[in-house]
């Protein structure tokens, strides 16, 4: 049943036709990375799943209305996920540090050794809250997802130059927020 891998462009065309194979492929191809992207920012598996579900629902809805991505499916999905995250962004600190939190996934318990790492991560996410949404997004895409500049520009619908400038400012802002180097603004 697995067909040979189609290009993103062909996949998008199939999606726009509401082809069920294309829609299934679009889900299988990108949902895992979208989940990871959401998890990194929300640190909550339930929310991350909601994010993925809602992202694809919005894609389907847009395509049905004749809208949706014109050329880049993946970037569109990330953009949609990002918008959802902005709307639903919550402080992860309490949830991550509390082992008794029921929203934590029971099948992946946090060993004691990882608690310190979790705490650092929570601090980082809290600091990132002081950034603008765009700054957060550029940092996530460039340094956490490891996307090249061109892809990031697509996802953020900006020029490459604008992304570079944004990235620079975002790093400064985050350094400030975390007290890195104790540099005043």
């Amino acid at each position: 049943m697995r067909q040979p891998l189609v290009t993103e462009w062909e996949l998008l065309r199939g999606v726009k036709r509401l082809s069920s194979e294309a829609l299934a492929e679009a889900y299988d191809r990108y949902s895992a990375e979208l989940y990871a992207y959401a998890m990194r920012q929300l640190a909550n598996p339930g929310l991350a799943e909601d994010c993925v579900a809602e992202t694809y629902r919005r894609l389907l809805d847009a395509v049905q209305r004749g809208k949706g991505p014109r050329r880049h499916l993946r970037a569109y999905l990330y953009r949609t996920a990002h918008n959802w995250i902005i709307d639903n962004y919550r402080r992860p600190s309490t949830e991550v540090l509390d082992p008794a939190n029921p929203t934590e996934d029971e099948s992946a318990p946090t060993p004691d050794a990882n608690l310190a790492a979790e705490a650092d991560r929570a601090r980082l996410l809290v600091a990132m809250e002081e950034l603008t949404a765009d700054q957060r997004q550029v940092l996530m895409l460039r340094f956490v997802e490891d996307w090249p500049l061109a892809d990031t520009a697509q996802a953020m619908q900006r020029s490459v130059g604008a992304v570079k400038a944004l990235q620079f400012r975002a790093i400064q802002a985050l350094a400030r927020a975390m007290g890195v180097g104790d540099q005043p603004s």
Binding site: A24, M39, R40, P45, E49, Q64, S107, A108, F143, A175
Partner: protein
């Protein structure tokens, strides 16, 4: 020379990369998400299908309009527009009447046989489409009509001379296929729950439809429609959509308004094969006019050219 800023940047980037590892995704939750999306896609596909199957609101008035159109049917537009009509649509009587005209004008028993068989097959296709769209759409009258058309076609096929045995064979096979199609439709009718029928109250069908969003569309329908259900939009169909299911009018003994020229309303003669609903292309069924709006020229089917059919438009029937 490394500046403070360079170092800060590196440190920040390192920190960011601690975000990379993600606890493994819960497979059950992942599967649930996938199923949810699959269902939404099926709903989308179903909405697209059911957008073409609506019962008109003003059926009586529409039937009168159909009658007038047929009587004044030198314009083939109404006739060609009725090609994809289903029982219950306002233009369905027009479709039936056009078939009768075409049958009456077929030259020779072979052509007539062919057109009778095509008509029977078309009835089966309509039943198939209706069963797919919703259970309560198929009426007894529709099944009875199928049986009548099937019987007439079979009778005519058997009456062909022995030198046309091959044609007879092909025709009978096609009738068998029609029977099978009908059986499948009826089976689905019995299997699907009554709640299966989607309720829509959208705008009039337009020739280039975007399927409407319908959150009430049923979950229980078989959504992965087989290939031959994927019918394209029909041009020039303008029908009102309605959520209610108006009752069928009492059978008048004829399939639609009578034509002035045909002998009796029942099964007089063969007619040109109207385009099947599967292609969505309205093929002209006007008896004499060579071409007109909506005329599609398709290569005639192998069986259809076995005789000198007089009608200028030789459109193939069947899928």
């Amino acid at each position: 020379m490394r500046t403070h800023q360079d170092e800060n940047q590196e440190q920040v980037v390192r920190l960011l990369q601690t975000l990379r590892p993600v606890p493994p995704r819960n497979p059950e939750a992942a599967a649930k998400g996938r199923t949810g999306f699959a269902r939404a896609c099926q709903r989308a596909a179903l909405e697209r299908e059911s957008a073409y199957q609506r019962r008109p609101q003003l059926r009586v008035a529409a039937m009168l309009v159909g009658l007038v159109l047929v009587l004044v049917s030198s314009t083939g537009l109404a006739v060609s527009a009725s090609q994809t009509a289903l029982p219950g649509d306002s233009l369905y009587p027009v479709k039936l009447a056009a078939e009768q005209v075409a049958i009456a004008l077929a030259f020779g028993p072979a052509a007539r046989s062919q057109k009778l068989v095509d008509r029977a097959y078309r009835r089966a296709q309509e039943l198939d489409l209706m069963a797919f769209g919703g259970t309560d759409r198929i009426q007894d009258e529709d099944l009875a009509r199928f049986e009548r058309h099937l019987a007439a076609a079979r009778q005519q096929a058997h009456a062909l001379p022995p030198e046309q045995a091959r044609l007879t064979e092909a025709l009978l096979q096609r009738l068998q296929a029609a029977e099978a199609l009908r059986q499948g439709a009826v089976r689905r009718l019995l299997e699907t729950t009554p709640a299966g029928r989607p309720e829509h109250a959208g705008p009039a069908r337009d020739p280039d439809p975007q399927p409407p969003l319908d959150p009430t569309a049923p979950e229980g329908q078989e959504a992965e429609a087989p290939g031959h259900h994927r019918y394209g939009p029909s041009e020039a169909e303008s029908q009102e959509e309605t959520p209610s299911d108006p009752p069928q009018p009492p059978a008048t003994g004829a399939d639609g308004p009578p034509i002035t020229n045909t002998p009796t309303a029942h099964e007089p003669a063969a007619g040109p094969t109207a385009g099947p609903t599967s292609t969505g292309n309205p093929s002209p069924t006007r008896p004499s006019t060579p071409s007109g709006p909506g005329a599609e020229s398709e290569p005639p089917r192998p069986g259809a050219t076995g005789d000198a059919s007089g009608s200028g438009n030789q459109s193939p029937g069947g899928p």
